[in-house]
């Protein structure tokens, strides 16, 4: 007997199937589901006759896709809400001097007052806004870089999603350049934009005139260049580490390990042997050394500035070479 619609017997059959309470011979019944009504699908192909944009349009699409993921769920990677929260904390943290400036203006703190010395515009504070070790280069910038750059290439390597680009009119140079640029832009927005906001806020809040701007703009530009070097170097090192890994965690932790570890080792050697030469292996210290020169601060390092410059150039060149070579071999079958 075949029943086409019997909820009771269906339930009984399920129980029997599940617990084997019957031998199945007592009642030779079966239940079949009613066939669903099919739908008619009209398959119409519509050709596309519109023009396709040039190279920069395609490159902008790659760039946007990578930056967009931070704020939306449709980017290159899905950022965990906790990561997004951390990024927000870093951005807000980098803007705290603006709040302190506002506070110093509101309490009529004079030029020699505590708040103004701590957060007003001067060589030390402009340098510190970009290159201060605590909390910026101990907590904020390396963490920001690790979170943004860590999965940039490693995710593609692990998931094979780089093939999505290379099956389209996207050259490896464009792919690599846009990846690098997207990471650098995020860092630049947080590090450089907040630095510029800080300087602008100082001028506006304090009602400074042209003479103040004329006096401080060279120092500001020096700090801006130091920030550009920092963004360039951190992005290059981070993306190189991401390109040699298939795990964003490994890439991120390697980056943090290198930036913070090299600084720690160099510091231990300095206090033990009283030499600053080992700081040449620390990207942060090379940047800090160059930054001090750019804003006109006395150097904390005994070794010549040229060595820090050479070290920075070598670090960036090595990082970009590793990155380029890894991207060149992505999705290419080994011969």
């Amino acid at each position: 007997m075949i029943e086409s619609d019997g909820a009771a017997s269906l339930g009984e059959a399920r129980i029997e199937a599940a617990y084997g309470s019957g031998d199945g011979d007592d009642d030779s019944s079966a239940t079949v589901a009613r066939p669903m009504q099919g739908k008619i699908f009209e398959q119409i192909y519509r050709p596309w006759n519109g023009p396709l944009g040039p190279r920069w349009v395609r490159n902008y699409a790659i760039y946007r896709h990578h930056v967009y993921g931070i704020v939306s769920g449709s980017g290159h990677r899905r950022y965990h809400p906790f990561v997004r929260l951390l990024l927000l904390v870093v951005i807000l943290g980098s803007m705290t001097p603006i709040l302190m400036l506002l506070l110093s203006t509101m309490v009529s703190d004079d030029a020699t007052g505590f708040l103004n010395r701590m957060w007003g515009v001067n060589r030390y504070n402009l340098w510190g806004n970009v290159l201060g070790y605590f909390p910026r280069n101990l907590c904020m910038w390396p963490l920001l870089t690790a979170l943004v750059v860590g999965g940039l290439i490693s995710d593609d390597r692990r998931n094979g999603t780089s093939a999505i680009y290379f099956s389209r009119p996207v050259s490896r140079l464009d792919y690599a350049a846009m990846k690098w640029l997207s990471a650098a832009s995020v860092l630049a927005i947080v590090i450089l934009l907040t630095y510029m906001m800080y300087y602008s806020a100082a001028v506006v809040f304090k009602g400074e005139g042209w003479s103040f701007i004329a006096d401080t703009i060279p120092i500001f530009i020096g700090g801006l260049f130091a920030g550009i070097f920092l963004v360039f170097t951190y992005t290059s090192i981070g993306i190189a580490l991401s390109s040699i890994s298939t795990s964003r965690f490994t890439a991120s932790i390697s980056f943090l390990g290198y930036i913070l570890g090299s600084k720690l080792i160099a510091w231990l050697i300095e206090i033990q042997f009283n030499t600053t030469y080992v700081y040449m292996v620390s990207p942060y210290d090379c940047l800090a050394h160059v930054g001090q020169w750019l804003v006109g601060l006395p150097s904390n390092y005994d070794h010549p500035l040229a060595l820090s410059v050479i070290s920075l150039v070598a670090m960036n060149a090595a990082s970009l070479a590793i990155f380029a070579s890894r991207v060149a071999s992505l999705e290419v079958t080994r011969e």
Partner: protein, 311 residues
């Protein structure tokens, strides 16, 4: 000046150390659907990697629309590629994914969204385009890949095992898409190791074996060329001996074998001629028939005939 063919391989060889991937293959394909057939390791993937610029030929030249894909990405503006293994961004909705890829071809945001919707509707995903790809079935994912390959209206579509792992509904939908593209004059290359799959879509095939090109052209013409080999027709009926008596003296049947009382194997050198006389003879004999099969109608048998014992 005539336009160069969509795909041109000129004496192309590819070696991976001591292993031959492709051995002296020369073909030119332009327009219509062409099936690339071959068993595992035949060289299909190597061929596609060469076409997609993922590897460089050891010898010979590869051209897509007259351009070397290793040197330039320009041909990819006119190509849609569906890889068997390529992963997608599972957290994205299909409309976001396909429109992102459309933008990689140079479309503006509004164009990309409009066109992505059209392409997804074409592969019957119009009502689930706001669902995350990670929640799709294998067949739906495959259709998303096809929509992504079609979004910029390519002239050449390269599909690597597009039906692999798909359910019957998805297979039918994908086959319809491929046929439609072929009928519009696009060049479609699709690979498979299942002859029946390809046969339902196209008769134009390229057969690879151990890196060599063993046959190229119309499937029936290739079969007909193999007339020195016997073709078998397996008939499952109620009385095999009674049915055999009506065939045995007829051309082009030259042999009959009884597998058991109900199964009969007919040997012929002209399969289409045998099939043309078969219905009338069966009716004449009055023997009830359960099924008629062509056991040689698979890639393995075809390859057996083509390459003989060298397999």
């Amino acid at each position: 000046m005539t336009n160069p063919p969509a795909v041109t391989l000129d004496h192309v060889s590819k070696w991976y150390g001591q292993v031959i991937g492709i051995n002296d293959v020369s073909i030119a394909i332009d327009g219509g659907v062409t099936g690339i057939l071959g068993m595992n390791g035949a060289g299909k993937s190597t061929l596609f990697k060469l076409l997609m610029g993922r590897i460089r030929p050891s010898k010979g030249s590869v051209r897509l629309f007259g351009t070397n894909p290793w040197d330039s990405t320009a041909p990819y503006r006119r190509i849609g590629y569906v890889s068997e293994s390529e992963r997608m961004y599972d957290w994205m909705t299909s409309i976001d994914f396909v429109s992102t890829l459309a933008r990689l071809h140079g479309m503006t945001r509004s164009e990309a969204e409009f066109r992505a919707e059209q392409a997804l509707s074409f592969v019957d995903l119009g009502d689930v385009l706001n669902k995350e790809i990670g929640k799709y079935s294998k067949g739906m994912r495959q259709r998303v890949k096809i929509a992504a390959a079609l979004v910029h209206d390519p002239d050449l579509l390269i599909l690597d095992e597009p039906l692999h792992g798909c359910d019957p509904l998805a297979r039918t939908s994908i086959m319809n898409v491929i046929r439609e593209m072929g009928s519009r004059g696009k060049t479609v290359l699709l690979s498979s190791h299942i002859l029946e799959e390809i046969e339902r879509i196209t008769e134009q095939i390229v057969i690879l074996h151990a890196g060599r090109l063993v046959a190229l052209g119309n499937l029936h013409a290739i079969r007909a060329m193999l007339d020195k080999h016997p073709h078998r027709i397996l008939i499952h009926c109620e009385d095999a001996r009674a049915l055999a008596s009506s065939f045995i003296d007829k051309q082009p049947v030259y042999g009959v074998r009884f597998l058991d009382n109900e199964r009969l194997e007919i040997m012929t050198k002209d399969l289409s001629e045998a099939h043309s006389i078969l219905p009338a003879l069966i009716l004449e004999s009055g023997v009830p028939i359960h099924s008629i099969e062509n056991p040689d109608d698979n890639l393995e048998s075809l390859l057996g005939y083509l390459v003989g014992d060298s397999r």
